[in-house]
């Protein structure tokens, strides 16, 4: 079988340029046009135009359109190579495919321009505006604009399709340079903040233009530099990670320790060089990371889809506010944060039990709906007039003091201190997740996720075990709530909208369910770059489009990469079972052969009777 495979998979042929799948091109070209028009009409180009990425030429607004023909050009010219079938050689034909697809998209955009110029339907479509027209025509008249749109889109489609055609090294250099430039321009505020801390302002002054964005020259230099870097370092990172994975025993332990020390040192030292805004951002990321780690235990490990996770966040927050604030309406013991924390753990645990006990016996969708309900109930209770004498209703509880450590006070006005506090708790949460994952309890959670009925038949008390997952998750969320309240200095029911639950869930899913590293990456990417439900991220301009992007990202991830950004090995095996099975089969062949020969030797020439 393997012999036939190797003989046929190498076969390729050179298709003629005119040999196009026109239907496919029309579909993808139409999609391209649709996407371009949609993005234009929801106001992204105009809304994001102020954020400049590369000084005179590229703003985030333009980028919101330009990536579309590029990516679709790439997708449309990609061929699925079937095992044992002759594959077309990438070449001129694919370039034409990409070019035409991009051009069709451009035509769509040009039609939109014509429409905007001739009709006025601003009434329902707010963004059917002259601003959009002038933006897309570069303020040079309709004719020029239309031609430019088609030409640019066609060119980008061509570039997208050329990714398949150019040799691998060129591809790597180009993508390295492109991603690098994007990263540098998106992270501009972070970089300039950092450079201020290190007294390197002169460097950023050269790199970035006054109005924001990389200057043209510096972007060219950067691109060259990054391209060169990719040649030097290409493949090294990958081989280093595989080497790390293959390490065993003591060596692995040593490597892990070194890695841990480096990361810990970075986490401790870096904030000292960061300004207020960046520290605030990191603190927010940490708060959501803490929540996401808790939810990861509930959803990722035990498989309980909890959509009302914000309830525990709220309980943690309100408990802290009541116990520490002098303005707590009914009961104000004004305890120290440390003592409060102990009580928070107890109360969150009890809430977890109380909410969990009725919910946990349900399965799947029912459970999700009921938890969704409980999440809202908790918020509405805190909001209600009935409990207003105790929790202040919609006015909430204000005047919550910071955390008094004796030598310093952790307050929201000093985000760096808050970050350190969050860091401690995140480290704790990571430790808890990690240890539990590889314990008797973690295995039981996984078994329940896999098949609850069988888990029970194998002697696991599923109700208690699931409740425990609920309680551990609740406690981690309550920590986050407690820190949030101490940081902000007040607590309102509106901080605990259903949206928080959803966003944490998206963080967990996009990052990679059941994987600690994935959750960390997920919170940095989503909360750090896009922003939380109320907290702005690095791309503050996205504030208006945040939920749209969250939604689009979720749909895309579910379709194309359900294992998340950083998948756990297990999860990706599970979701790509077929490929994995194939690998195992190929690798396992030698093992099987050995085994078979052993077996034959054992059973002897008769072969009928197995060994006794």
């Amino acid at each position: 079988m393997s012999a036939t495979m190797t003989s046929t998979s190498a076969a390729t042929y050179r298709p003629r340029v005119s040999d196009q799948d026109w239907r496919r091109i029309a579909t993808w070209g139409g999609l391209c046009a649709l996407f371009l028009i949609l993005v234009s009409l929801i106001g992204m180009p105009v809304g994001l135009d102020r954020r400049i990425l590369i000084h005179p030429v590229l703003s985030l607004g333009y980028l919101s359109l330009l990536w579309i023909p590029l990516v679709l050009g790439y997708v449309v010219s990609k061929h699925v190579v079937l095992e044992g079938m002759a594959a077309p050689e990438p070449g001129a034909r694919d370039l034409v495919t990409g070019l035409v697809t991009g051009a069709i998209g451009g035509v769509g955009l040009a039609v939109l321009l014509l429409g905007i110029d001739n009709f006025n339907i601003r009434d329902p479509l707010v963004n059917w505006s002259p601003q959009l027209l002038s933006l897309l025509t570069y303020e040079r008249g309709l004719g020029f604009g239309a031609v430019a749109c088609i030409a640019i889109c066609a060119f980008l489609g061509l570039v997208g399709s050329s990714i398949h055609v150019v040799p691998a090294t060129v591809r790597r250099v180009m993508s390295f340079a492109a991603y690098g430039l994007l990263l540098f321009s998106v992270l501009e505020s972070a970089i300039s903040d950092l450079s201020e801390g290190f007294r390197l302002e002169w460097l950023t002054d050269i790199m970035f233009a006054k109005r924001g964005g990389l200057t043209l020259i510096s972007s060219v230099v950067l691109a060259l530099l990054l391209g060169a870097l990719s040649v030097v370092f290409g493949g090294r990172v990958k081989s280093a990670t595989t080497r790390y994975r293959e390490l065993e025993g003591l060596e692995r332990q040593r490597a892990s320790t070194i890695l841990f020390v480096v990361v810990a040192a970075l986490c401790i030292v870096l904030p000292l060089f960061l300004g207020t805004i960046m520290n605030e951002l990191l603190a927010n990321v940490g708060l959501f990371l803490l929540l996401a780690l808790g939810l990861n235990i509930v959803v990722g490990l035990a498989g309980i889809l909890d959509l009302g996770y914000v309830a525990f966040f709220a309980v943690g927050g309100y408990t802290t506010a009541v116990l520490t604030s002098a303005d707590s309406p009914f009961f104000a013991p004004e305890l120290h944060f440390g003592i409060t924390l102990v009580i928070v753990v107890v109360i969150a645990g009890i809430t977890g039990l109380v909410i969990g006990a009725p919910v946990i016996r349900m399965r799947g969708d029912y459970l999700a709906i009921v938890t969704l309900g409980f999440g809202e109930i908790i918020r509405l209770l805190f909001m209600s007039d009935w409990l207003k004498p105790y929790f202040g209703g919609a006015q909430g509880i204000t005047n919550v003091p910071g955390v008094d450590l004796g030598f310093a006070t952790i307050k929201g006005t000093d985000p760096r201190s808050v970050f350190y506090l969050v860091l401690v708790f995140c480290a704790l949460a990571i430790y808890i997740s990690w240890r539990l994952q590889v314990s008797r309890l973690g295995r039981a959670w996984m078994a329940i996720r896999e098949d609850e009925q069988v888990a029970e038949a194998m002697g696991i008390n599923t109700v208690n075990t699931k409740l425990l997952a609920f309680v551990v998750g609740a406690i981690l969320a309550s920590f986050s709530g407690a820190i949030l309240v101490a940081k902000v200095g007040s607590v309102f029911p509106n901080s605990f909208m259903i949206l928080v639950s959803i966003i944490i869930l998206v963080v967990v899913i996009v990052g990679g369910m059941g994987n600690i590293l994935g959750v960390i990456v997920g919170s940095f990417v989503l909360i750090g770059v896009l922003g939380g439900p109320r907290q702005p991220g690095l791309l503050q301009e996205f504030q208006t489009f945040k939920l749209l992007i969250y939604g689009a990202l979720l749909v895309f991830m579910m379709l194309k990469r359900p294992e998340g950004l950083v998948p756990s090995a297990r999860r990706s095996q599970e979701l790509h079972q077929e490929e994995f099975l194939q690998d195992v089969w190929l690798k396992g062949e030698d093992h099987e052969a050995e085994e078979a020969s052993e077996h034959a030797a054992e059973t002897g020439p008769g072969g009928d009777e197995p060994p006794t």
């Binding site: 808890i432 539990l436 008797r440 009925q453 069988v454 194998m458």
Partner: protein
Amino acid sequence: MSHLLEIRNLKITFGGLDALSGLDFHVDEGEIVSVIGPNGAGKTTFFNAITGMVEPADGDIIFEGDSIRGLEPHQVTGLGIARTFQNVRLFPNMTVLENIMVAQHCRTSQLVFGALLQTRAFKREEEEIRARAENVLGFFGSRLIGYRLEQPAFVLSYANRRRLEIARAMATQPRLLLLDEPVAGMNPMETAELTQLIGKLRTEWGFTIVMIEHDMRVVRDVSDRVVVLDHGIPIAHGSYDEVSTNPDVIEAYLGRPAERHA
């Protein structure tokens, strides 16, 4: 001496259908008893009833002298009854080793704090769990150990999945093992091997075994007694030879013999 497992007048109904109606059954310590019968005879329901997965409408199930009727499945497993499933139900995305380790849940006790503080008791227990798991897997020769330990269960071949399921049931440290069609789908060589192993389960591991099986050669080779079910009623009972010649049994399997034409 009292029986290890005794079932009296067991009755199970699904809606109006009597899946089991008035079943009496017993197993003694160290026996291997086969339950056979045509499709839909109620064999698997019988296992489900013993393990607490379905609630009997009437009758009693007595294990080691105490009634276990109405207990939760995990409690039944805790008392020492373990089962396999007809349509193999492993934890497919857990590794082979984890599948066995998790089955020892009811024999171990460490919870959150042991794991977080890495207490000595926790570490010792983890080591014991692992050692026992490897011991159990070693029962199947080299088939489930070595590089296989870290593979997810879903990559295993069909026969290995069946073996792993038996291993998982063994890992719960039962006294009574319920095997639901252990050799279904195996080739003749694998069947012969597993038949031997079922014998060893009794002699080396000391399990008492109740087995549902359609492969009559296996039934003949390993069982001390055979119980035949049809439509939820035991229709025959005895040694293999007695049962296999019983006209009622032949009728249940093959139908009434046609009138012979001249």
